[in-house]
Symmetry: C2
Subunit: 122 residues, 2 copies
Amino acid sequence: MTHRTVGHPAGLPDDPRASVTAPTPECPVEITLAALHGRWTTLVVRELLRGDRSYSELRAALPMLSDKVLSDRLAQLGKAGVVARDRRPGWPPRVRYALTSSGHRLGPVLQALWDWGAEVST
Amino acid sequence: MTHRTVGHPAGLPDDPRASVTAPTPECPVEITLAALHGRWTTLVVRELLRGDRSYSELRAALPMLSDKVLSDRLAQLGKAGVVARDRRPGWPPRVRYALTSSGHRLGPVLQALWDWGAEVST
DNA sequence: CTGAATCCCTGCCGATACTG
DNA sequence: CAGTATCGGCAGGGATTCAG
């Protein structure tokens, strides 16, 4: 565990953004939650944590996920800098989705989310 | 950091729930995201990480937060086992909200969310 | 002081159909 | 194969009002 500054009992950052009094897109916590926001998002990330995938492979891995939501999620994760698209030339179209370096750094974040949820559910 | 099993490159848990193919309330990640779900939720938790608060103190600390959403959030966090209500006898009614032990354990979770968002926003 | 009830509006997401 | 277009149902959340 990291060092804890007196006056920040829970290890909250000593950063002006830690004092905002309303939800704002500049808050780092909001940035992360926005990247992970929405149904299916964490499952898509989990799938990509296991390796790069094509669109069809993602659909096959998550059969109940509709085309619309999958492309929504991939666009959202792309804009958030989590996922990169690799379009290869030729026919039929072949596109690979892979996590960026930022995307890989979501691993510990998901781990933290998992750990808390696992402990409270026991 | 915890030990990483081969075949789980990102440190994903070796747990059957890590293989679900659809969003489910039993998934620990979903449990945590459900607890933190919704606008204002993390700000309420942050406020309580600094110490217990009354209803009015929370309203004063988060002036743009409406009564409806505040009581929604306190109920949500109560059901999630994050926040405990302490109602004291007498008049006028005095109620204190405080984090449970589970609630305090959200500190590292918010820290992880903060760290990722802070790094990608640089 | 501490909330709950209501109203309404917006945005999410699921299903279906269609395109390069 | 890899998506986009469109529509409809439903839940989230803001403002206001009322209650214990």
